[in-house]
Amino acid sequence: MKSKFIEHTEDLYQNAPCGYLTMLADGEIVNINNTLLFWLGYKRDEVLYKKRFPDLLGIGGKMYYETHMMPLLQMQEKVKEINMELRGSEKRVVPVLINGIKVQAQAGETFYRLSIIDITQRKQYEKELLKARKEAEETNKRLREINEELEHFAYTASHDLQAPLNNIGSVISLIERKKLLPKGEEGDELFSIIASNTQRMRTMIHDLLEYSKLDGKIGELVHISLRETSFLAMEMLNEEISKNGAKFTIEELPIIHGNKSQITRLFLNLFSNAIKYRKAEPPQIHVSFKEERNFFTVFVQDNGTGFEQKYDKKIFNFMERLHSHDEIAGTGIGLSACKRIVDKHGGSIGVSSVPGEGSTFYFTLPKNLDTASS
């Protein structure tokens, strides 16, 4: 049988793996253990009754001691995890964590016991973290500023470009209406290039403006019936729908919390793509949804040209397209606007597509928008 282990209390105090210090209300040090003396590089008789605890602190620490630590010890009779730097002999500096309690002795005298842990390595680690955080904060701030500037620039540029372009457009119609151009095949051809490019530029600026309006903020959130919103988008596309003989089937859809004009634009862009990238047969568009635990997934399926699945990320990039403008007119902004809208609602967007058979675009919207980014 093992013999009972005996701990010698004085040895435990003096040589504990942490520092101990006892002081009076005025900070006078009346007891200190070997461990702490060793850390500080002081002899016992240099400290005992000769130094006050604040004497071991730098100036910032002294101020902190007077304004926080001592009041806390007085008021709450304890302090926890106070981080300070202790100054020892020969410019030694020991970062420490201090816990302390107020002790009311029977004789009526009050004293304070502190236990002190050396945290040199932990402090180093903390400094690294703080440094990284400060850097990240600054980068973030800078990025936010740049983003705001860019958004503002995009908005102003596209907005201001509209006016001269509208003037050019009006002049072109005027020239056509008044038949001011001399007849001749070459002139006609050149003029129609001007007219079509002007129209293309107008579309592009319009799309850019719409996109830049989707700035950092999600705006006012309301309850939205996705079904009503998709009808609204159909109304806005009335002309194209009848021109192409497009058929829509829209199932029951859930009610979500979101920005109404943005969600309308989302459907509008998806529908108009489904019509635009059509095959010879009339477009058929089917809208349905699936309920998951935390979100809804909405599907917009078409019978259009489709594309190779490997492009499923590329098509959502800003101003990237799979077709040249001459094949099928477009700016490459519509789907990236869709992605931005869904992102801001805290969801994600994707597509599965088979060339020649059609595409199914799907997006998720959270049931609880608290999880959405703002």
Binding site: A25, D26, G27, R52, P54, G58, I59, G60, G61, K62, M63, Y64, E66, T67, H68, M70, P71, L72, Q74, M75, Q76, I82, N83, M84, E126, L130
Partner: protein, 268 residues
Amino acid sequence: MGKNLIARNNINRIGSGSQTIMFAHGYGCDQHMWRYITPAFEEAYDIILFDHVGSGNSDENEYRFEKYNTLKGYADDIIELCENLELTEVIFVGHSVSSMIGALAAAKRPELFKQLIMIGPSPCYINDDNYYGGFSKEDIDELIDTLESNYLGWSSLITPVIMGNPDKPEFTEELNNSFCRMNPEIAKHFAKVTFLGDNRQDLSKITTPVLIIQCHPDVIAPIKVGQFVYGSVQNGSYKLLEVSGHCPHLTAPDQTIQALKSYIENYN
């Protein structure tokens, strides 16, 4: 009336006398620090306790960095508080930075104050050519570093929980622990405003009688500084306590009470 102010500054009014004493806490703490002092005055005085905006249980949302960029913002709060509670001839007891806040308020609106009592005042902490404040600018940076590494129970994660559940008793302990707890950004800002300010020019504008209560040694407000304040005010008295440290109302409440009473009762 004044309902917003009551929440803003967490005003508590106790005592059954008619003469009002307003106790203003110093940097780093809140009104709880007067706990050992107020019982001696409750019977004969009307006592106003409050937390400066940003400290203790004040409404942190009211903290405007522009407003509190100088001590004038806090002084305006005191004046507003007196007006709303319809107080005049107040005995104002300010600890540490609140001494100067009281001084600014009294210089602006002398009729509101009967006496100013300053515990450990300093009009300027930074040494100047012919002035000893006790600190250099680098020292204050060191304090800011110490503040940055001590959040004292403040956490962006627990604060909303406490704020959102003021009625739930299980949070009472945490609310009590608000003493010394400050939003780190506010703590740093208040520290800078407190320790980098210079209100030496304002002292001579005070016509209200002033008592300076000085401890020795006091690292934050050394004896030379207390004497400077005494020499600068028009109508000053000076009391040196046999107490070390910066918070005699915590470490030596009896001596502090005695000093307060003997001035309040004898100076008329």
